[in-house]
């Protein structure tokens, strides 16, 4: 395990980044609210942002993060916060919509041009996002990477960035809160999501019997169960949101409704 100074540096770096982005988010709200033709930015989204950032901070700095360096159960708790809960809450805070609203028309157009690029389309494809997200976890827990991460602060930094970024990418590839250039249909997203959830479950059972190097068997077992059931819980929210959109989009139109009610 590495020295306390290095740990503190990494934790502080994360804290500074989150404070910076929160400052940007709040400034963007003011910019967007100044535009008279737009509705005021919902307070609920600011709350989603703040709770999302808070759960990422708890995972990255402070007592839970510190305990996570020595105890796999706390590591896994932090992982749930950073890789699943924080991405979900931040996705719900619709940062991309806010950005587009706060920019001038010219810059917003440039931004959407980027979002429409092949590059962006490739990354927000649910399959790419799932492979990056769940595949990254397999790399972390089923290879020596977990151990290397704990001996190199640089690796630690990038692994944690990846966990959050991949979790966020996965969330926005499944539920569309912000604008998306290419919308994949519900069946496709559901099938990919089922596969991703299954592989996540299989990985947690794998950890249960094959602890990463240097992790006590008892801690690996509790950590794996936390991953399995905690993952289920947050995925349940995602499933509900996905199906809620589907339900609303499948609303019968006036004619159809009359056809249903008439008895031919």
């Amino acid at each position: 395990m590495y020295s306390e100074t290095n740990l503190l540096t990494v934790a502080n770096l994360f804290l500074v980044a989150t404070i910076f982005f929160t400052f940007m988010y709040v400034s963007a709200i003011f910019l967007s609210n100044r535009k008279p033709h737009l509705q005021k930015w919902p307070l609920m989204r600011l709350l989603f942002w703040l709770t999302g950032v808070l759960s990422a901070c708890i995972a990255l700095a402070g007592p839970l993060a510190e305990a996570g360096h020595h105890d796999f159960r706390f590591h896994m708790g932090g992982h749930l916060l950073l890789g699943m809960l924080a991405p979900l809450l931040i996705a719900l805070s619709a940062p991309m919509t806010l950005l587009l609203r706060s920019l001038s028309t010219k810059n917003a157009k440039r931004c959407t041009y980027l979002l429409k690029s092949r590059f962006a389309r490739f990354y927000v494809n649910p399959v790419t996002a799932s492979v990056l997200n769940i595949g990254g976890l397999w790399l972390l827990y089923a290879t020596p990477l977990f151990n290397w991460m704990h001996s190199s602060p640089v690796l630690f930094f990038f692994v944690h960035i990846h966990i959050f970024a991949a979790g966020y990418l996965f969330t926005i590839s499944i539920i569309y809160i912000d604008p998306v250039s290419h919308r994949h249909n519900y069946t496709y997203r559901t099938v990919v999501f089922i596969a991703a959830l299954a592989v996540h479950g299989i990985l947690s059972k794998y950890i249960y019997t094959n602890p990463p190097d240097g992790v006590l068997a008892s801690q690996a077992q509790s950590g794996a169960m936390l991953m399995y059931y905690g993952g289920d819980l947050i995925d349940l929210v995602l499933i509900i949101l996905l199906f809620r959109d589907w339900y609303q989009s499948a609303k019968p139109r006036q004619q159809e409704e009359e056809a249903c009610l008439s008895t031919e």
């Binding site: 299954a198 479950g201 299989i202 609303k251 249903c260 008895t263």
Partner: protein, 166 residues
């Protein structure tokens, strides 16, 4: 032909026979899998989170099944909501599906997962035959009641249709 809202509803729901049946089956599957996990894994600790299967195929199939059942529970309830807003919910058909789904899962679990693949048993260090018998007999009863309800619902629909054509 004019109809009171009630007779309208009775007729319209028969347009959604498949949807009623399948949302019931999905809910039954999801519910049975969920109940199995809560009662036998968490509360009774009869079989565990992972019962060291001899085959990795078992682990993969289990993972897929679990993920599917999680989706099925939520998805089927949205289907029920959809049927309701179309005035097409047909409880007898839905329940038939639910019992078929739950019974079908339990029989699959009891025969394929317990006996064929031997992923886990209901309980350990006891004479398992009684547990197996009770488990599978309950599954068969659920399926039989499901089929009975299905027949009954179909018959109801026929009678209603006939009375409307007179």
């Amino acid at each position: 032909m004019t109809h009171t809202p009630e007779s309208r509803n009775k007729l319209s729901k028969h347009l959604f026979k498949q949807k009623n049946l399948w949302s019931g089956i999905l809910f039954g599957l999801g519910f049975a899998a969920f109940a199995d996990e809560v009662i036998f894994h968490q509360l009774l600790h009869w079989h565990k989170f992972y019962d060291l299967s001899s085959t990795s195929v078992g682990l993969v199939s289990d993972g897929l099944f679990h993920a599917f059942s999680w989706f099925a529970t939520v998805g089927s309830l949205y289907l029920v909501a959809d049927l309701r807003r179309r005035q097409g919910l047909w409880p007898k058909m839905w329940w038939s599906g639910k019992l078929l789904g739950a019974g079908g899962f339990q029989l699959y679990d009891g025969l394929i997962q317990h006996k064929l693949m031997r992923i886990h048993q209901i309980r350990y260090h006891v004479n398992i035959i009684y547990y197996d018998l009770i488990w599978n007999i309950i599954a068969v009863i659920l399926i039989i009641v499901g089929i009975y309800l299905y027949k009954k619902a179909t018959l109801d629909a026929k009678i209603l249709e006939a009375s409307n054509h007179v």
